[in-house]
Amino acid sequence: MDLLAHLEAYAATADEASFSRAADRLGIAQPLLSRRIKTLEEHFGGLLFDRSRRQITITELGALLLPYARDVLDRAQRLRQVAGTAGRARTQAVGVPAHCAPAALARAIRAGAEHGITLGMRELPPAERASGLADGSLSYALVRVPPERGAFQVPLGLASAPEASGGGRGPEYDGVRRAVHLEDLRPRRGRGAERTAPPPVLTLPEDQVPSCEDRLERAVARAGLPPGRFRPAGPAATALAETLAGRALLLCAEPLARQHGARWAPLGDRSLHRGYDVSGAPDRSGSAEVPHWLVPLLASAAGAAARGPGGPGSGTGAEDVPARLAARG
């Protein structure tokens, strides 16, 4: 017995309260439909419809079983859909951060085509890239890791208003680009004292990863800045507008700042930069292979820098440690 076909006949008859209309709807002959109902009644050991009157009605047993029959039909339908999309989906989704360079992503897509893979780029926040790999909705993704562990690093820096229209000191002098240090953001006293409140530093969703935020918060406190000075930006467009207007600084990578004509200087502390690995979704055997040609292409799309010399050093370390824990003056 083709159970699904028989259940379809049963559900259609219950909906239409008529054998002929149900047969029309299913596009089968009425005798075939009647036979299916009868077979099903024998199978379940009871009548599903009362045929004693002109208008057929559903029996108590028929009404009881109907929701279960519909459930089986729904699930079968979903099974067919999933099987259908899986068959069609030759596209491998790649999770990338917001504000990647479009031309570099295009190079990755073309390289995929040369290797016989259709890549689809999906711009997602960091947490969703990691969860997408885990639930299989992404084949590959750029995953945030601490910069000292990552396969590549993207320098983070501060974007500020172009020219001298406020928003902090110009980080570029004589064509030499200098790093910004968090201590530089302390309000100035004395002759250079600012008359207005110091501009807030806005952070993008890409950097709202708990481990990175903890690290940044600690560095901000150690540099003598109040905790409220760095805060999450709303949408990137408004954050950029505030930045270009000189009312805020934006913590971002260089391409985003350049693209919108903002000034940009890297943070001197490399341990605060972005670190990435390119990871693949684990296959049936549990291994997660990433094609070797994909890594440099995605790195360049994200704005990666060549790995510079020297690791992130922090702390002066020369102090008398116990004395710091004691009561002080």
Partner: protein
């Protein structure tokens, strides 16, 4: 914890100043209590003045008063020499606590070291001569309100190192976390177990010291002299520095606590006693903007209260 502050102010203008201080501190992530009182007019302004706080090194002021009282009564000789051996003395960044070789110092000079550079070893050496319990009993007998002496100064270091194993950042993080959770891993941060006091009780003590209404005039005069010799000027003193003003104070700093108490005296005769007891919600050893905000509060209060 984050309840609205309870203000103390004798008129609307003084209330404005108190409110501005709260807003200024809150912008930097600082909470605490503040009280400033004009010793002539009795006018005052402040907020949360009865909140109990661990005093950190501020407790050295009542300790000094008890020791000076013993000296005044002849029980202690200020010239009596004591040997301080670094191998056994208390931890600290200044004074005898930072010494590497044994030193013989007179009792009177231990007081100077304790108040001028906040010397923990000098304080604990004095507590060998006058027991902690005796100091506490004396303060109660004088009616010093909630000011309590419960432990030696080195106990703060021992508790912090016990909880965090000599890791300053970790101790600081524990302190901040505990402050949010409302229970204390580092016992000396719990007002119920620490050397504790309130801004109201400390300002009242300063008033009695400056008006010779506690202990004996020889003891209070010496305490005023010694408090005028403090070398730290980064906090309340910061904005009250002029040849025409005199600041006599004592700071207290431990992990996220930043305090100072003292009296500002002007040539015009105005004398304002004040106490600022703060906690910062920030994992930083140095926070010059917080120190500056405390200093700014002291100056605002002094200018609002002086006649």
């Amino acid at each position: 914890m984050s309840m609205a502050p309870v203000y103390v102010a004798d008129d609307g203008a003084l209330l404005d100043v108190a409110e501005a201080i709260v807003a200024d501190w809150a912008a930097l992530g600082v909470r605490g209590s503040f009280l400033a009182r004009h010793l002539g007019t009795g006018e005052q302004l402040g907020f949360d003045v009865d909140e109990l706080m661990p005093l950190a090194s501020v407790v050295k002021v009542p300790l000094a008063l008890v020791v000076l009282d013993r000296i005044a009564s002849g029980e202690l000789d200020p010239a009596h020499p004591v040997t301080v051996d670094p191998a056994q003395s208390s931890v600290g960044p200044t004074g005898l606590a930072a010494f590497r070789h044994p030193a013989r110092v007179a009792v009177g000079d231990l007081l100077l070291m304790m108040l001028s550079v906040s010397d923990n070893a000098a304080a604990d050496t004095l507590l060998d001569l006058v027991r902690v319990a005796d100091v506490d009993e004396r303060l109660r007998a004088w009616g010093c309100g909630e000011i309590r002496m419960r432990h030696r100064l080195n106990h703060m270091y021992e508790c912090a190192a016990g909880a965090a194993g000599n890791d300053f950042s970790l101790a600081l993080e524990l302190a901040l976390r505990d402050e949010r959770a409302g229970r204390h891993t580092i016992e000396t941060l719990d007002p119920a177990y620490a050397n504790a006091g309130s801004a109201a009780a400390l300002v009242e003590l300063l008033r009695r010291v400056w008006c010779d209404e506690v202990s004996t005039p020889t003891a209070t005069a010496e305490l005023r002299r010694l408090m005028g010799l403090q070398v730290f000027t980064h906090r309340l003193a910061g904005e009250l520095r002029a040849d025409s003003l005199r600041w006599s104070g004592k700071t207290g700093t431990f992990l996220h606590l930043r305090h100072e108490i003292g009296v500002a005296e002007a040539e015009s005769g105005d004398r304002v006693a004040m106490a600022a007891l703060t906690r910062a919600d920030r994992c930083a050893g140095l926070a010059p903007d917080v120190d500056l905000a405390i200093g700014a509060a002291g100056r605002e209060a002094f200018e609002a209260l002086r006649r």
